[in-house]
């Protein structure tokens, strides 16, 4: 496709990511199906199916795994996680604060109606509107205006240059809705299934249970290999394993790494694992007692046996997190060995040490401890176990901590609503591979409010200033320096307590292959990326 140059143009002009410049592949890299490679139907399991398919109200990886097959953004991620064209066949950085997206012709929504620039504008504006309650609003913080500058052209004006915004049109925040549907309060329910321009359309949705997708004949891109995809919720890990053993499902994402040996023992099953670029962390509400006390936060940080958890829960497939960002996510600005060297200089390093934890707590305003309850999602493979370990350690230093098990939706909604935050556990997987992604979400004061990811309510003017630098300055060296400052302060203040950087694993029936599996399975139309018969 001829747009290769354009894409390269924006990458060089806007953000020089070593990793991304190397992309040459386009959408055609997903081998289009040969006639004999048509697959009638597959059944895919997820640990949870959301209550609603409306991404702004259910922004979770499991929603993404479904909706990335139905909806598309103006841009998309390639198999190497770089940006490539999707609904926009080309885009242009007019100046550092103005980007124009030119929409591809002949693209239709699942109901046959054509895609127009108005739909894209309505989608972006929906996220930007404070009344919509979009959980992805923060990705539009830097946007000043968005206009349809022509019937097939959308112009975005930024308040200030922002490196991260370039990715927004490619991940869940950029998935385009049909304008009329956005006005309907019922969107996302089985009655009003969201329309998209993707290769599949939603046929059936039973909330929290299953979704049925059907391939579209009038899709603008390559012909989908699989005609029908059923996505089923199987929350219980053992049940999912048994379903796979029995052939009731053809594959699944998000295996618990601790179970991988059991999955590998299944005869007809391939297990694939990849670094996830994800992170598990604790947030501690800085705006309210007891976590407004730095010594309490440090006591908690010392009480997490990261290395032990990696061994017990990840069988070594993953790393103990020393900071929010996994080293690989820095690849655009800093090689990962340099990142590791930098992390090693962070002080204090909060290595597991209950003596230090006790000493910190003794210095705090709560030498006799306090009560705290932490919600953990039962759909997540590690959370409950991580929290069991952490609460046991906290009990030993005198903090009476208990774990409250909840379902995935409740856990996330309570987090994002910023209601009685206290201590929370969060599992976060990247929206895009940029080192400013996590710090902007978790450390910026703009996100320390309802709808924002800063569950620690961490506010630091210096951090905000450095984040602005990292987001505005396209120079990798300058970005790296700014982000290093951010991480130094965050570490010292215990903005969050990082726990793990897990690998991510999927299982697939040996009949099939999925060559395009990446850590971004929830942001890309996975069934269109090299899925086929083996």
């Amino acid at each position: 496709m001829a747009i290769g140059v354009t894409r390269r143009g924006i990458l060089v002009a806007g953000m020089t990511h070593a990793a991304f410049v190397s992309i040459v592949g386009t959408f055609t890299m997903a081998p289009s199906a040969k006639a004999d490679e048509q697959i009638e139907s597959i059944t895919w399991a997820l640990p949870s199916i959301p209550d609603t398919l409306f991404i702004p109200h259910a922004w979770m990886t499991y929603t993404g795994a479904i909706m990335s097959l139905v909806q598309e953004g103006p841009l998309a991620f390639g198999n190497d996680l770089g940006l490539e064209a999707a609904l926009a066949d080309r885009w242009e950085v007019v100046n550092p604060t103005t980007i124009k997206y030119h929409l591809r012709g002949g693209v239709k929504f699942g109901d046959g109606s054509p895609l127009t620039a108005d739909d894209v504008v309505a989608t972006f504006r929906y996220h930007m509107s404070p009344d919509s309650g979009s959980q992805l609003a923060s990705f539009y913080n830097s946007v000043a205006t968005v206009e349809a500058s022509a019937p097939d052209e959308v112009t975005v004006n930024l308040k200030a240059p922002n490196v991260q915004f370039a990715f927004t049109p490619a991940h869940m925040a950029g998935f385009v809705f049909k304008k009329e549907q956005l006005a309907d309060k019922r969107i996302g329910t089985p009655e009003v299934l969201p329309l998209g321009t993707g290769a599949y359309k939603l046929v059936e949705f039973v909330p929290a249970d299953h979704v049925l997708l059907e391939a579209r004949d009038d899709y603008w891109g390559p012909k989908p290999v699989v005609k029908r995809i059923t996505l089923k919720a199987i929350p219980d890990r053992t049940a999912r394993l048994l379903a796979m053993q029995q052939g009731a499902i053809d594959g699944t994402f998000d295996l618990a790494i601790s179970d991988v040996d059991q999955w590998e023992a299944l005869e007809k099953v391939d297990v694939v694992d990849e670094p996830s670029l994800g992170v598990y962390l604790l947030t501690l509400d800085h705006s309210a007692p007891p976590f407004d006390d730095i010594h309490v936060r440090r006591a908690v940080a010392y009480s997490v046996d990261r290395k032990g958890l990696v061994e017990a829960l990840l069988n070594g497939k993953g790393e103990a997190a020393t900071a929010l960002n996994p080293p690989e996510i820095w690849s655009g600005v800093l090689p990962s060995d340099e990142v590791r060297a930098f992390y090693a200089t962070l002080s204090p390093n909060y290595a597991f040490d209950l003596k230090m934890a006790k000493a910190e707590l003794a210095q705090s305003r709560y030498p006799d401890g306090f009560d705290v309850t932490i919600e953990a999602s039962t759909a997540d493979p590690y959370m409950v176990n991580i929290m069991q370990s952490v609460t046991e350690n906290l009990k030993q230093i005198g903090i009476r901590a208990r774990v409250q098990e909840t379902d995935n939706n409740t856990w996330f909604t309570n987090y994002i609503n910023h209601d009685k935050l206290g201590m929370r556990i969060m599992a976060y997987y990247p929206d895009f591979a940029d080192p400013a992604n996590y710090p902007s979400l978790f450390f910026s004061s703009a996100n320390a409010q309802k709808g924002g990811m800063n569950g620690s309510n961490f506010k630091n003017p210096e951090v905000d200033a450095q984040l602005t630098k990292a987001n505005e300055n396209p120079n990798p060296g300058a970005r790296a320096d700014a982000l290093k400052e951010v991480f130094k302060i965050a570490n010292n203040e215990v903005a969050v307590v990082p726990i793990l950087w897990p690998a991510s694993a999927m299982a697939i029936n040996k009949k099939y292959k999925l060559s395009g599996y990446t850590a971004f399975w929830y942001n890309i139309p996975w069934a269109m990326r090299g899925f086929g018969l083996r």
Partner: protein, 275 residues
């Protein structure tokens, strides 16, 4: 209902009952001594060890966080026994009071109490426990309270009919003519005479409460994560079924053994004293 299987051994204590009593005694010792007799701390994590099958060091293996399964099972006897004891005792405290009143006073009191009993009887008890604990929250102790209330209904009926059997007996008449107060007749004269049947049902209630509380823990509605509890262990250790099945089987066996023992003892007591 008669169960003559053990009726021929009315005088001697059958061997099965002795074994059952032995098992229950062992459980009670575990519950009382707990950590003192456990080979290891039930809470100590060995994250580096993780889930391992039985070995000389950890006779029943370890769970995902490397905790010693045997120690957790021994320590778990406490939550397994304390709740059911409270449920059975609580249910019978309520039932004895209501049953005595209802049976002895009769009239309006009797019919009011029996309406209530009928209502409770018509409810699907375990479902009520699940829903109330699930909605109200509070876990284990809410469950104990709810079960005590639910169990008190059938127990009331039993106490009442036992009282009705006693009331026409001559000694009650004699006591009345002597001018002994109603309360005194109820608690000093009638209660000791119906105590054996109460004991039999307390034991049976205990067994049923044990099974129900384990069930609630299994559904994630009982004890909180991290507590060594048989029902909870069954639920948690399902994911290590293949690496250490003992972590799952041992608590299951403990639940069944205790419940079977108590049921046998209860049935036997009933046969022996209540007929």
């Amino acid at each position: 209902m008669s169960a003559p299987a053990i009726s021929e051994t009315r005088r001697r204590v059958p061997i099965v009952i002795l074994i059952a009593a032995l098992i229950v005694t062992a459980m009670v010792i575990c519950a009382i001594l707990g950590e003192k007799i456990a080979p290891d701390s039930p809470f100590l994590q060995r994250l580096g060890v993780g889930d391992t099958p039985p070995s000389p060091v950890h006779v029943a293996g370890t769970d995902l966080l490397g905790r010693d399964v045997l120690s957790r099972v021994i320590y778990g006897a406490r939550t397994a026994l304390v709740g059911p004891v409270v449920v059975a005792a609580g249910a019978f405290a309520i039932a004895t009071l209501l049953g005595l009143l209802s049976g002895y006073l009769g009239g309006l009191v009797d019919s009011a109490i029996m309406r209530w009993v009928d209502f409770m009887f018509a409810l699907p008890g375990p479902l009520v426990a699940i829903v109330v604990v699930g909605v109200v929250g509070g876990g284990y102790w809410t469950a104990v309270l709810v079960l005590a209330v639910l169990f008190s209904a059938p127990d009331t009926r039993i106490v009442r009919s036992a009282v009705l059997e006693q009331r026409p007996l001559p000694y009650i008449d004699a006591a009345r003519t002597l001018g002994i107060s109603r309360t005194r007749i109820l608690f000093v004269h009638i209660l000791p005479n119906i105590a054996p049947i109460i004991l039999a049902y307390v034991v049976l209630d205990f067994a049923f409460a044990l099974v129900n509380l384990a069930g609630l823990s299994f559904l994630g509605l009982g004890v909180e994560p991290g507590t060594p509890d048989w029902g909870r262990m069954l639920f948690e250790n399902r994911s290590i079924l293949f690496s250490n099945p003992v972590a799952l089987l041992l608590p299951a066996v403990m639940i069944i053994l205790t419940a079977v023992s108590m049921n046998l003892i209860g049935d036997w007591l009933y046969e022996r004293f209540a007929k």
